[in-house]
Symmetry: C2
Subunit: 129 residues, 2 copies
DNA sequence: CGGTATCCTCGGAGATACTG
DNA sequence: CAGTATCTCCGAGGATACCG
């Protein structure tokens, strides 16, 4: 996903939000100001390096703001920008859509022991031309 | 993005939609039924292999349906499922949000020759503790 | 504490060729 | 035409160490 190949805004958004971390970070920040180390604690599996890179990306995209305080030990606080705040309900909608498009299928096949993904492949229609 | 680390539905969605192709494919399919070769023509830069993989992913996620017709030469048609159709307006909303959060910044800095990304970094607030 | 630089590895994805 | 299999390679991302 290095460079864009269409002029579609969706592709631009996905270039920012793709991957495991961007959306998770937005979600953690939605609860309010967080320091770098807070975010590390929130996502123990993200590496030091990736956290800074992802935060820079979100910052450059105008989704997250960074406030640097002088003194020792260093202190930096991250927040959602207004644009970032507007993004939250959209992500919520996506999450809702997913649980729905998905939970629905699960409910309609109640007693089966959840063969989920393989079962969908069985829906392949075989049609005699 | 192999395995999930939170139970957040957003992370599940992003696992499916992350990357350049999933959303583009959804967009091309929104215009109606497409054959495998149509989708290749729509995205000349995607490799044969990746296209099949991405389509499988979307199919297993219940976003795309696959119809296989017997005969020679082989023929396979792809369509959005009802869930996939519901996804489209959500992606549109994301695209709108982006153009907005973004176009707004551009409009508010009219005569400057669009230093976009670097200029945002200049917004770093330096605050004396 | 927060960030950068360096090294290293492992798997995502391209190219190619083959099958039904 | 649509899909699979094999090989290969590049770069995203982890580990580590050092700076302000």
């Amino acid at each position: 996903m290095k460079q864009l190949i269409s002029q579609c805004p969706i592709e631009e958004v996905m270039q920012i939000l793709s991957g495991r971390w961007p959306t998770l970070l937005v979600y953690y920040l939605k609860d309010g100001t967080k320091r770098f180390s807070d975010l590390r604690r929130d996502n123990p599996t993200i590496s030091h390096k990736m956290l800074t890179l992802e935060l820079r990306k979100l910052e450059n995209a105008g989704i997250v703001s960074r406030a640097e305080f002088e003194g020792y030990p260093l202190r930096v606080e991250y927040d959602l920008t207004p644009a970032g705040l507007q993004l939250v309900p959209l992500l919520d909608a996506l999450g809702g859509w997913w649980e729905n498009a998905n939970g629905a299928a699960q409910v309609s096949v109640p007693p089966v022991k959840q063969p989920s993904s393989d079962r969908r492949r069985a829906l392949h229609r075989k049609i005699s031309s």
